[in-house]
Every structure is written in structure tokens, then in C-alpha cells.
């Protein structure tokens, strides 16, 4: 494809095809570094926190959580939506950016998709364990009553969630694995030990790089890309409907679907940046995940952050325009009530902070981008907290107004999912190629 000469190369350092294989396979073929062990150990400890707190919840019951009369599972739902949101960048990058022919996605799609899968697993923990009796976790499926469950309520957006997220998870997993097959075969072909040859050979499913293989691969990849495009929108649309179909002031508002999707992409890119700024320096991938890539991602962060900000302002405007006093109270309470600090954290992290990316320096300085990505993560966690807690803690009945706080078990579970997430990501970076070698090689060729 013809490209104008003002476009900068996506892979720097004059890499050849062999360089790509060597650079990307190095972490897999060598012993992990000290930094890797350090990161992995911390994550693993946190994972144990998760196992402990979730075990205690299962043993003792949901009473160990801060569920109270009007906020209910506030912390749990906040974390659920937080993780589902993070899971959005992967599919956006692999499906939507594919449709928009953004080639810079090739260096980052593998790790973003992995992140998606781990984030969705983390998210799934919350609805699963909030049921209290996790061994009956199959009850939300539409099974005949003989299984002990009741027939599910198809009118409920919570059930739509079950379908949306399980579909999203399956398609993302398939898409990710499909893309991995040629690369796993590369690792297999370079393998020096028998064990590695066997296991990578097993997961490469007999890939031999023939034209026939590639043809089928491309057909399936295109179909999966087509299938996952609506999924990018559908998952968070349905998560937003969990709230918006209700008649709770602050929840029932028509802008929720697109606004949640924008927020999810925003938080997803925030997390991708957190991971990749670290990964590119720890794994020496600066020539593959270049500053150009980071810059493109910061632009997406700025765009989606501003879209979310516009939605916040629109909501506020319409609340006061509507003349509905409950709606007005909900928003006044958000901004100036007892949870004002949460609201203003959200506003400054999501709307104001990303505006620094108008400056080239901010877009191209990795350590600064890392700090910003953490701010984005914090902001998006608070967004969910604000939406869920401030709308519920003061409902129509002033006698049941409460202040909400989480217990140590809940905090432990949230930190624990961080452990689950990062442990999975560290293992991924050790055992699988973090950059899609096959795709990167295809853009090297066109640049010769």
C-alpha cells in the first residue's frame, strides 16, 4: 500500500526479519530477569490475598462485605464495571482499529488482547461471588427448572450481561489464540529443549506456515474481527443498561450507552499504557512499541476522556434543565454532597487531566505517560464508585439514607483481583510472544 513520505516508520532501529524473531522470543527463551521475578512475586502475593478474602467470603458469607440497606453491593459492582471497562481496549484495538486500518495497532494488539481476557476474568469474579453460594453459579443460565434453578428473567439487563460478557470473553479468547498460533509455531521451530518443543508444538496445532494455512488464518481472522466489532459496543452498552433501565435518579439517563462505551475505551487504554510503558522497557521493546505508539494511544485517551467529560457535563446540564427535582438532587448530591471528593476526583482525573495530552511533550514522555495512565485508572474507578454509591446512598426515603464504606474483605478482594490480573500478565509475558511477530514482519517488508 502506498504511503506518504511524511508518515513515520512504525518499527524503528532498522530491524530485519530475523531481528524481530530474536527480539520478541528472547524473554521466552531465556531465564526471567530479576525485575520479572520481583514483579511476579508482588503480584503473586496479591493473588494470595484474593484467594484468602474470596475464601473467607465463601466460607462466612456475604455478610463479610459492607452491604447495607440501600447501597447493597456498591463496592462489588464498582469493581465489576471497572474491570469490564478495562477489558475494552483489546477488542477495540484488534477489531475497530483493524477496520480503520491503523497499523500501529500491530505492536500492541497482542498484549492488549491478553489484558482484555485477564480483565474479564477479574470482572467475572465479582458477580460470581456476590451471589453468596458460588457453587450455584450456573443458575443465571437459562436452564430447565429441574436443575434447581428458576427460569431466568429475559427482561432483566443483568441477564443480558451474562450473555454479553460470556460472548465477549469467548470471542476475545478465540481471536487472541488464533493470532497466537503462527507465533507459537515460530517459538516451536526455534525451540532447543524437548519440553518446549512439545508444548509449543501442541498449542501451535500443527501450523506449518503454508499458503493454505495462511489463507484459512486470514479468513477466520476477518470473520472474528467482524464478529467482535459489535461486541466492543454491546458489552458496555449492556453494562450501562444495568443502571439506565432503572428509574433511579442519576442512573436513568439516555446517554449512558455511548458514554459507558467511551469510558470503557478510555479506561482500557489507560491500563494498556500502564502495562506497555513498563513492558517496553523491561523487555527491551522500545523499537517495536515506539514513542509514536504511545503518542497515538495518548491521543485516544485524550479523545475518549473528553467524550466522557462531555457526557458528564451533558448529564449535569440535562438534570438541571429537566425540572425533575429528584434528578437535580442526585447531581447536586454527587458534586456537593458527602461524596464530593469522589466526584471531583473523577472529574479531575477523567476530564481535566487528559487535557495535558494537547502538548507534544506530554504525549511523548514515557514516565509522564505512565503517571497519567495511573491517574486515568484511578479516575475511572471513581467514576463507577460515584455513579453507584452516590445514586443509592440517599434514595427516595430520607430515613434510610446511609454512608457507605467497604470492609477489609472487600478491599482485599479488589487488591486481590489486581494480583490475579498482574500475575496472569507476568506469566503471559514470560511464556508467550508479547508482540505479534507475524504481523510486525508484514509491515517491515513494505518499508524496505
Amino acid at each position: 500500500m502506498f504511503e506518504a513520505n511524511i508518515r513515520k516508520p512504525l518499527v524503528t532501529g532498522g530491524k530485519t526479519l530475523t531481528d524481530v524473531s530474536n527480539d520478541i522470543c528472547r524473554p521466552i527463551e531465556n531465564k526471567p530477569t530479576k525485575l520479572w521475578w520481583l514483579g511476579f512475586s508482588i503480584s503473586f502475593l496479591l493473588l494470595m490475598v484474593f484467594v484468602g478474602t474470596i475464601g473467607w467470603t465463601t466460607w462466612e458469607g456475604i455478610g463479610t462485605w459492607g452491604v447495607n440497606k440501600s447501597v447493597m453491593w456498591g463496592w462489588d459492582i464498582t469493581n465489576f464495571v471497572f474491570w469490564v471497562g478495562i477489558g475494552h481496549a483489546g477488542t477495540l484495538i484488534s477489531a475497530i482499529l483493524l477496520l480503520f486500518r491503523q497499523k500501529w495497532r500491530m505492536s500492541i494488539n497482542r498484549s492488549a488482547e491478553a489484558m482484555t481476557i485477564f480483565a474479564v476474568i477479574c470482572a467475572a469474579m465479582f458477580p460470581l461471588f456476590h451471589m453468596g453460594r458460588v457453587w450455584l453459579g450456573y443458575w443465571p443460565l437459562p436452564l430447565p427448572n429441574a436443575f434447581g434453578s428458576l427460569w431466568v428473567n429475559f427482561n432483566s439487563p443483568l441477564l443480558w450481561d451474562v450473555f454479553a460478557i460470556s460472548t465477549y470473553f469467548s470471542v476475545s479468547l478465540l481471536f487472541w489464540y488464533l493470532g497466537l498460533i503462527p507465533d507459537i509455531a515460530t517459538v516451536r521451530d526455534r525451540a532447543t529443549s524437548k519440553a518446549r518443543k512439545f508444548w509449543y508444538g501442541f498449542f501451535a496445532m500443527g501450523w506449518n506456515g503454508s499458503a493454505r494455512n495462511w489463507h484459512r488464518y486470514e479468513v477466520v481472522a476477518l470473520i472474528l474481527a467482524g464478529v467482535s466489532t459489535p461486541l466492543v459496543l454491546s458489552v458496555h452498552t449492556i453494562v450501562s443498561m444495568d443502571f439506565a433501565t432503572s428509574v433511579i435518579p442519576g442512573w436513568h439517563t439516555t446517554i449512558f450507552p455511548p458514554y459507558f462505551v467511551a469510558g470503557a475505551i478510555f479506561s482500557g487504554f489507560g491500563m494498556v499504557l500502564t502495562l506497555l510503558v513498563i513492558a517496553r522497557s523491561v523487555l527491551n521493546l522500545q523499537d517495536y512499541i515506539t514513542v509514536e505508539h504511545l503518542e497515538a494511544m495518548t491521543k485516544v485517551v485524550m479523545l475518549t476522556g473528553s467524550m466522557v467529560g462531555l457526557a458528564y457535563l451533558t448529564e449535569f446540564f440535562i438534570a438541571f434543565y429537566s425540572g425533575v427535582e429528584y434528578e437535580q438532587y442526585a447531581f447536586r448530591n454527587r458534586a456537593f454532597g458527602p461524596y464530593w471528593w469522589a466526584y471531583w476526583t473523577m472529574m479531575s482525573c477523567n476530564l481535566l487531566a487528559p487535557q495535558v495530552f494537547w502538548f507534544k511533550w506530554a504525549r511523548t514522555t514515557p514516565w509522564f505517560i505512565f503517571i497519567m495512565s495511573i491517574i486515568v485508572n484511578i479516575g475511572m474507578w471513581f467514576e463507577r464508585f460515584v455513579i453507584i454509591v452516590t445514586s443509592l446512598h440517599r434514595d427516595y426515603l430520607p430515613s434510610s439514607w446511609v454512608m457507605y464504606s467497604a470492609t477489609w474483605v472487600e478491599v482485599g478482594i479488589f487488591l486481590g483481583t489486581m494480583g490475579l490480573f498482574f500475575t496472569a500478565f507476568f506469566l503471559f509475558s514470560k511464556f508467550l510472544p508479547v508482540v505479534n511477530m507475524a504481523e510486525i514482519k508484514s509491515i517491515l517488508k513494505s518499508r524496505e
Binding site: E3, I6, L233, T254, A311, E315
Partner: protein, 478 residues
């Protein structure tokens, strides 16, 4: 792949021939004549053109008397649908006020003087054609901001469409300056100046005075549009200077102005859509409304760009625009038809599901016997037909099929706008007659003439645009 790379193209210049001028002019003139006949007819019919229900007829005289002083919308909103009367809290105020109208409100508002209907048509078309122009500007800006190269060849077409912005400004200003009394019942309400406790005092309306006021309406709307025009002029001048002098300076400057425009557009377009369109139903509100307006704007704007490109190609111009570029324009039409449907369902489903009286009234009015067929047609023409037609790859590469889909999209969203305006202003006596068809032809004739005339003034390709050759050699890949 496998094409040889084109490194040079000849520029072209569009000639707006006398024959074409006559044809487009004829559309305008015929439209004008039809509109006048339509108005005369309506006036003769005493403002009740469609006597579908007997109830309407009975109350005709009475209503007409009322309409001469109160816009029909007022009555229709307050006492519009049966659903309103079930509404516990919000419409309690509605039932109390204007007690005088209440007795005939139930009978199905026949309302809508010919003048209201005339202004509604002018408003609707002013807004519709303004959407094309502003969406074309947005398209140019987005391509700059996203560093997209593929659409460079059709940039001049989009620029020519944006040249309509000053005209759109004039038509919108005329509507709000002269037609507001017939269209916006809140203006009428505030003119009366009710005090608390008066019959007709409206608590909800009073609470909106901070936004629904003359300042925002008569100053805000024109100021927003003037700033749009300034952005447009700047981007156009940069593009023309780039033609003369070359270099990438103009290109980089354009990126900056585009980013600035996008930010301003996001806020200003929301405000404009609330003031000009949402306030027609002054009691009603929806947070997604501005996004919904944007969805209409972008899909129709893309369609208009595509249709003009296809027209030019059919006349032998724009030979450098390959099927690949047209294919991608088709993809955009397809994608944003789906986007519109997504935004539509987000608004409709959530309002339907929650079933709050102050919100559902909007859809109750639009699914009444008068409007239900159009409501359905809108969904079919704005989503299902373009979706099915444009799904196939070959459809997007076949000019005839693409044109067909384009016309369907444009008519679909015309109905979309009709449903946004008419139920709020004219009410159940609305129908699509000579006036509606004529007025749209008038606007369309003028718009096409203006755009083609502008197009004939400058070269068709921005020759020094750094991405020009990317667009020439564009390849959709699959």
C-alpha cells in the same frame, strides 16, 4: 495489491454547465411553486388539511381561534396523549393550567395553523441542510486530526458542501427571528409572563428560564454558527493557500485548527441541538439528544459527500477517485447507519423501559395514529434498508446501488427530522403534502446549485496535500 503506483495526477476543474444550472434551478423553482400552492391550499382549508378523524373536524373552528394566539404545540404538549393524564406528578401541573384548553385537548388536537406548518417546514429543512454542511466540515476536520489520507481526493467536495454554511446560518436565523412564535411554545409562554398562582403558570417551564431564554436563543445560536463559519473559512483558506504555495506548513496548521474545531463543535453542536430542536418539546429532555442529532448529521453528511462524488464521476470528473475510495465512503455510510440505529435504540429502549411519563410522552406523540407509519418507515429507511443493501462488498463498489442506498438514507433521515419537528409543532393534523415536498425541493435545489457552483470555482483536487497520493493509490485491501 499488485497495482502499479501512480505518482502523478492531472488536476481537474468542474464546469457547471448551463444545462445543469437550468435543471437544478428548475428543481428550486418547481419546489417554490409547489410550496406556494401548498400554502394557499392549506390556507383555503382553514388550516385543517387532513380530516382524518371526525373529532378533529368538530373542534376545528374552536381550535383555530386558539391557534391564532397560542401555537398548537402548546396545546398538544400539555394535553397531547392519553398517557399524559395518567402521569401522576409531572403532568398534574399540565392538567391544571390552561384549563380552558383542557376540554378539547382530549379530543385529539387537530391544531396547526397553516402558518405553524409553514414555519415548521422551513425550520426542518433549514436544519437538515445545515447538518450536511456542518457534518462535511466535521469530516474534513476528523480526517486532519486522525491523519487519514484515503479521503483526500474528495476533500474539495466536502469543502464545497461546507460553503453552504453561511446560507444555513441565514435560514436558521430567519426561522428563529421570525418564526419562533409559531414554533417554540416556551417563547410564547415567557412572553406572557405568568406569576406564581396564575392559571397557566407552569412550574417546570419557569425552572428552565436560565437556559430557555432570549439570550441563549437569539444570541447563542447565531454566535455558534458564526464561529463555525470562521473555522470553515480558515480551513478552506489554508487548503487554497496550500494549492498555491505547497509545503507542509498549511497541513500542520490545518491539523491544529481541525482539533480546535472538533472541541468547539462537540460543545456548540450540543447546545445548538438543544436550543433549536429539543426545545420544540420544551418539557421533554433526553441526555443523548445531542448525540442523536450528531448521528443524523454525520451519516447524512457522508452520504451527501458520496452522492456528489458519484455525480461528478458520472459526469466524467474525478477520474482519480478509484472504486476503492468510493468503497470506503460506502463503508462509512454503512457504519454510521448502524451508529444511528445504536443511538436511536439507546434513546428509545431506555425511555420505553423506564416508562416515566415525562419522558415517554415524546414517543407517544410520535407513535400516534398520525405518525406511527412514518415512525416505522424511518427505522426501515434509516437503518434496515441501508444495512441490508450496503452489507455486500459489491454494493459499495456499484455507483447505482450506492446512489440508491444514499437516497434511501437521505429520505429516511428527512422523515427522522420530520418526526422531531412536526409532532411538537403541528401535532396530529400534520401530513406530508405539497408544502412538505415543495419546501424540500426548494431547499434541495438551492443547496445543490450553491454547492456545484462553489465546486466549479476551484480545482477539484487539493494538489499539494501531503496525503493526495495515498488517496489516489488507495486500496481497501480486502
Amino acid at each position: 495489491m499488485g497495482h502499479h503506483i501512480i505518482t502523478e495526477i492531472e488536476n481537474e476543474k468542474f464546469e457547471f454547465t448551463k444545462r445543469s444550472r437550468t435543471i437544478v434551478g428548475a428543481i428550486f423553482v418547481i419546489g417554490l411553486i409547489l410550496s406556494i400552492i401548498g400554502v394557499v391550499q392549506l390556507k383555503g382549508d382553514n388550516g385543517a388539511e387532513s380530516h382524518d378523524t371526525d373529532a378533529t373536524e368538530q373542534h376545528d373552528a374552536e381550535e383555530h381561534a386558539l391557534n391564532s394566539e397560542t401555537p398548537a404545540s402548546f396545546a398538544s404538549l400539555q394535553h397531547g396523549e392519553e398517557g399524559t393524564h395518567e402521569a401522576p406528578e409531572h403532568d398534574a401541573h399540565a392538567a391544571e393550567e390552561h384549563a380552558a384548553d383542557a376540554d378539547h385537548g382530549d379530543a385529539g388536537h387537530g391544531g396547526g395553523s397553516w402558518l405553524t406548518r409553514l414555519w415548521s417546514n422551513i425550520l426542518m429543512n433549514s436544519y437538515y441542510f445545515m447538518l450536511f454542511a456542518i457534518a462535511a466540515l466535521f469530516f474534513i476536520a476528523v480526517n486532519y486530526a486522525a491523519n487519514a489520507g484515503w479521503a483526500t481526493l474528495v476533500k474539495r467536495v466536502a469543502e464545497a458542501i461546507t460553503s453552504y454554511l453561511p446560507v444555513a446560518f441565514l435560514t436558521i436565523v430567519v426561522v428563529i427571528a421570525l418564526g419562533h412564535g409559531e414554533l417554540y411554545h416556551w417563547i410564547h409562554y415567557f412572553k406572557e409572563g405568568y406569576a406564581a398562582g396564575d392559571p397557566g403558570y407552569d412550574k417546570i417551564m419557569e425552572s428552565k428560564a436560565w437556559f430557555l431564554n432570549n439570550g441563549w436563543f437569539f444570541a447563542g445560536v447565531p454566535i455558534i454558527m458564526i464561529i463555525w463559519i470562521l473555522f470553515r473559512t480558515k480551513l478552506r483558506n489554508l487548503s487554497l493557500k496550500e494549492d498555491e504555495n505547497g509545503g507542509t506548513d498549511y497541513f500542520r496548521k490545518s491539523i491544529r485548527f481541525s482539533a480546535g474545531f472538533i472541541v468547539f463543535f462537540a460543545f456548540s453542536f450540543s447546545i445548538l441541538s438543544w436550543l433549536v430542536m429539543m426545545s420544540l418539546d420544551a418539557h421533554w429532555f433526553s441526555t443523548i439528544y445531542s448525540v442523536y442529532n450528531f448521528a443524523i448529521a454525520f451519516v447524512t453528511g457522508l452520504t451527501v459527500i458520496c452522492l456528489f462524488t458519484l455525480y461528478l464521476k458520472s459526469k466524467g470528473y474525478m477520474s482519480a477517485v478509484s472504486d476503492e475510495v468510493v468503497h470506503d465512503l460506502g463503508k462509512f455510510m454503512f457504519a454510521f447507519s448502524i451508529f444511528w440505529a445504536y443511538i436511536f435504540i439507546a434513546q428509545y429502549l431506555l425511555i420505553w423501559y423506564a416508562n416515566l411519563p415525562e419522558e415517554v410522552i415524546y414517543y407517544q406523540m410520535r407513535t400516534s395514529d398520525t405518525f406511527r407509519p412514518l415512525f416505522r418507515t424511518n427505522i426501515i429507511m434509516s437503518f434496515f434498508l441501508p444495512f441490508l443493501i450496503l452489507m455486500m462488498r459489491n454494493a459499495k463498489r456499484n455507483p447505482k446501488v450506492l446512489m440508491l442506498a444514499g437516497v434511501i438514507i437521505l429520505v429516511g433521515h428527512w422523515i427522522d427530522l420530520y418526526l422531531m419537528v412536526m409532532p411538537a409543532t403541528v401535532g396530529d393534523s400534520a401530513s406530508i403534502g405539497l408544502l412538505e415536498i415543495g419546501m424540500t425541493m426548494t431547499f434541495a435545489g438551492f443547496f445543490i446549485y450553491w454547492v456545484l457552483n462553489n465546486l466549479s470555482k476551484k480545482a477539484l483536487y487539493p494538489m499539494n496535500h501531503p496525503y493526495l497520493l495515498e488517496s489516489v493509490n488507495h486500496d481497501v485491501g480486502v
